[in-house]
Amino acid sequence: MPKKKVTKAVYLKWYEDMLFWRKFEDKASALYIQQKIRGFLHLYNGQEAVLAGALHAMEKGDKMITAYRNHVQPIGLGEDPRRIMAELFGKETGTSNGKGGSMHMFSKEHHFYGGHGIVGGQIPLGAGLAFADKYKGDKHVTLCYMGDGAVRQGAFHETMNLAMLWSLPVVFVIENNGYAMGTSVKRTANHEDIYKLGLGYEMPCAPVEGMDPLTVYNAMQEAVDRARSGEGPTLLEIRTYRYKGHSMSDAQHYRTKEEVAKYQEQDPILIVKKEIEDKKYATQKQLAEIDERVKSLVKECVDFAENSEFPKPEDLYKNVYSQEDYPFIINN
């Protein structure tokens, strides 16, 4: 399939989407400090281009699965952001009725399959989604995301081998943001070019500059096309950066402020905004309108979550099994 055009409309969408994700996460961070959101909270700030570029390459019915840094992916795929915020609050109007929380977002309707808290645990699941599409003869592709830390799990290596053996329609996307919590990539292996792990499986693989949605899109379209045409998986190592700590409780002693600042100079939102300005895709007034829309939607999300109810205690027993009358042991 020829590359899709990256038009003015795409740039404006990228700008608005990425800005919204950024502001949504910033708000979540503030709400965490206010203890409205509890548990672990992992933010996507800095990595937005990896999602924006990928979404442009996806077709309807294509699937996405990732780890616990997962609030904005379902929003990008079309889920109502108010329900994501409600899930962060643990409210019954959340995407999982308050049962998943920050690390476990799901939106089956929009083909987002989680939201997984065990590092690397989602990798075979992603291949399994692709296995089912191939089995059923559906021409869908699965984008299976993971962190740089996750590639050191056995699950990654077994899945790489099986996905090649069975030529599954899946793209493995490593978001290399430099660190697994406080452990830099170079402290996890005696090599740093993670994409080369594909070579041992003869899987097409490449490093991708990940701060610009355009470079991400280009690499992703090629990989998605390969999968859809039956030629099997691709491994992309997308080089990105997270601005915030690993989670909210991270003093970040393992890196310098200068390092963070260096990446913020090539911020994906700034890159896209500059392109919009250079190409005169929008006036300053129009950009200001986008900023306003984003701000008010974030506020709507918070209001919605605040005004929703927590699940009732008896809801604990709902949806553990799909069998409705499962005989739970109730201590008496």
């Binding site: 939201g115 645990g121 699941l125 099994y321």
Partner: protein, 326 residues
């Protein structure tokens, strides 16, 4: 109409019938296809269904279990075979943290209609790594259902039910049962999960057990009958959820209970049954509940040590006489 078939054939019939019935059912595991199953429990299935649905895997339990779960999240109904459940441990994260959790964590959006099956427990002198029973480990996990078969008849009925169930189900068998013969109807039948079976009616002592160690229980009950002691033998069949009602009504009749389980004692199914019986039938008990489990050690290789490890007929007889104060 009934005929006598082997346990392995009952397993193959259950899978084949369900695969004929539903295109989304497939079988995946090590040696299941071209080799016809490590224990020939999928004999002929590759020929009938082809390599798309009867799938040989490399030795990657973690990988193929996870792929199975992912495919179930996307509409398929996989049967994942473990050569034995000893080897399921390298994939236990996919069973416990993924298969068992997905429905709840997604607020009911996703279901995982998957079956994990294979042999459990000891199978002769295989040493410590190949002789383990994890029924109680899996049964401990909400989100899973776990059944342990003991005859060709019940493995077929339970497995068919498991394949049609929309929740993840583990079906446990035994290498030492695949050659067992038993009566199996020609007609289709299902055995519901969560229902125990009274194998032998009796009045003096209730003996609860499950899986292949039931053979020991039945042999002991025969011996005891010669002494005029009447044992009621209950095959639990499903260890999650457990059919407490059948056990309690039996204990209320016999006033004595023994649990015989091929597993380590601490945190066993026997322990759970004992708790429930003392809580719900305390006033009916004429003797403390006793359990006979394996020794609290890894199994060992030498024949004398295998014998010392496993529950034996004599242990059961002694325990029954003990609770009868005879």
């Amino acid at each position: 109409m009934s005929r006598i078939i082997q346990f392995r054939q009952a397993v193959a019939e259950a899978m084949s019938e369900e695969m004929r019935r539903d295109e989304n059912v497939y079988l995946m595991g090590e040696e299941v296809a071209e080799y016809n199953g490590a224990y020939k429990a999928s004999k002929g299935m590759l020929d009938e269904f082809g390599p798309k649905r009867v799938i040989d895997t490399p030795i990657s339990e973690l990988g193929f279990s996870g792929i199975g779960v992912g495919s179930a999240m996307n509409g398929l109904r996989p049967i994942i075979e473990y050569m034995t459940f000893n080897f399921s441990l390298v994939s236990i994260d996919q069973i416990i943290s993924n298969a068992a959790k997905m429905h709840q964590m997604s607020g009911g959006q996703l279901t995982v209609p998957i079956v994990f099956r294979g042999p459990t427990g000891s199978a002769g002198q295989l040493g410590a790594t190949h002789s383990q029973s994890f029924e109680s480990w899996f049964a401990n996990t909400p989100g899973l259902k776990v059944a342990v078969a003991s005859t060709p008849y019940n493995v077929k009925g339970l497995l068919k039910t498991a394949i049609r169930d929309n929740d993840p189900v583990l079906i446990m068998e035994s290498e030492q049962m695949y050659g067992d013969k038993g009566e199996v109807p020609e007609e289709e039948y299902l055995i519901p999960l969560g229902q125990a079976h009274i194998d032998r009616e009796g009045t003096d002592v209730t003996i609860v057990s499950f899986g292949k160690i039931l053979k020991v229980v039945h042999a002991a009950a025969e011996e005891l009958a010669k002494d005029g002691i009447s044992c009621e033998v209950i095959d639990l069949l499903t260890v999650r959820p457990i059919d407490y009602a059948t056990i309690l009504s039996s204990v209320k009749k016999t006033n004595r209970m023994i649990v015989v389980e091929e597993a380590w004692p601490l945190g066993s199914i026997a322990t759970e049954l004992t708790y429930v019986v003392q809580r719900e039938a305390f006033d009916f008990l004429d003797a403390p509940v006793r359990r006979i489990t394996t020794a609290d050690t890894p199994m060992a290789y030498a024949p004398t040590l295998v014998e010392a490890f496993l529950p034996s007929i004599n242990q059961v007889i002694d325990a029954v006489k003990g609770v009868m104060y005879r």
